[in-house]
Amino acid sequence: MSVDDSPVRLVIPARARYLRLARLTAAGIAGDLGFALEAIEDLRVAVDEVCAILIEKAEHGAELELVYRSTPDGLSIEGSCANPGAVPEVHPVARELLAMTADDYSVYADGDVVSFRLTKRLQVTTG
């Protein structure tokens, strides 16, 4: 399956019940890119977890904007959400989950906007 390089953008209300759309989009794109199922399952957990951190203190009516990009070595996902206040604190359990399921992630704030960036590498197994 060929994958063109246009990023996929998704904007959803910053509420937990909409995170499913973020997960399903990630799974769909990762599937297209040839990720193995196990990696896709990891990715869903990671996306869910990091988005949950971002929207934790979001005000009613806030939106979560996600951009999914295929990169030379896999998939990168960026998200941002208007979320006044400091960078959300990442709970140890969430940190551990993310360490297990994402190759790299960061959560940061810029003014009133909190963002994350997460990458998942496409594992190439040599037979």
Binding site: A16, L24, L37, E38, V93, A94, T125, T126, G127
Partner: protein
């Protein structure tokens, strides 16, 4: 649980509150509080030669699932419920490790089950079931139900659909497995048959088929890995493939 004696946090209340709100922070708190249940199983299974990182991940995910699914009104202690969940997931892991066309219920397979369950529930309820009801009946997440809905006949089962490692043409593995008999496209029902047939093979033959077509190892590599002669190996491969074709022609 009275590990902390007088300082016991109101865990029962946390559970009730978590079920009501789905608050992620509460979930994390509950997971952290019951972490020792997972650690116990990690220690117990660590001696079986499984990488500790894998075990830890598995146990952590299992305890999270347990927290997410635990209903305080069920009348069992959470530690009992969690132990069952963790033990179940670890056992499945050990089972899958020997034959790792992994998760048993992929979207495609689930898609077929979904139709059956949909019919049953429609009949039972007198209306079309919701995603939540389907998920509960199938004991999978709602995400998986939605994915299964997507998995139409045009798609192929993921496990067999992914290009084998090092495969230049990127063709599905199942196609390659049966390339000499089929036009290169397997219908869902045929995929199911192949899966069932492979699952029914004796363990050694299954491993051989797996290594050959899914891990893309060469025959000498497989012979060495499995500990059989190359001529025996090619006999098994030939015989198994003939059997598979025969069944598919039926």
């Amino acid at each position: 649980m009275s590990r902390d004696g007088l300082r016991d946090p109101p865990v029962a209340e946390w559970f009730v509150e978590y079920r009501r709100t789905g608050d992620r922070r509460l979930r994390n708190q509950l997971v952290e509080h019951h972490r020792h249940v997972a650690d116990y199983f990690v220690k117990r299974y660590a001696r079986r030669g499984v990488p500790t990182d894998d075990l830890r991940q598995l146990a952590l995910m299992a305890i999270i699932h347990a927290v997410e699914r635990f209903d305080p009104e069920m009348g069992v202690a959470f530690s009992t419920f969690a132990s069952r969940t963790i033990e179940g997931e670890l056992k499945r892991y050990f089972r899958d490790r020997t034959w790792s066309v992994r998760p048993p219920r992929r979207a495609q397979e689930l898609h077929l089950e979904l139709r059956r369950t949909d019919e049953d529930l429609t009949h039972q309820l007198g209306r079309s079931p919701t995603i939540a009801e389907l998920a509960q009946a199938l004991d999978v997440s709602e995400d998986h139900v939605l994915e299964a809905l997507e998995a139409g006949v045009a798609h192929q089962a993921t496990s067999l659909d992914q290009p084998a490692p090092g495969d230049d043409d990127g063709g599905p593995r199942s196609d390659r497995l049966l390339a000499t008999t089929e036009s290169g496209f397997l219908r869902v029902d045929q995929q199911m048959i192949v899966r069932d047939l492979i699952a029914d093979l004796p363990e050694r033959e299954r491993t051989i088929i797996y290594l050959r077509f899914f891990e893309n190892l060469t025959q000498p590599e497989i012979a060495e890995r499995v500990g059989v002669s190359q001529s025996y190996l090619s006999r098994i491969l030939r015989k198994t493939l003939l059997d598979l074709r025969e069944h598919l022609d039926e």
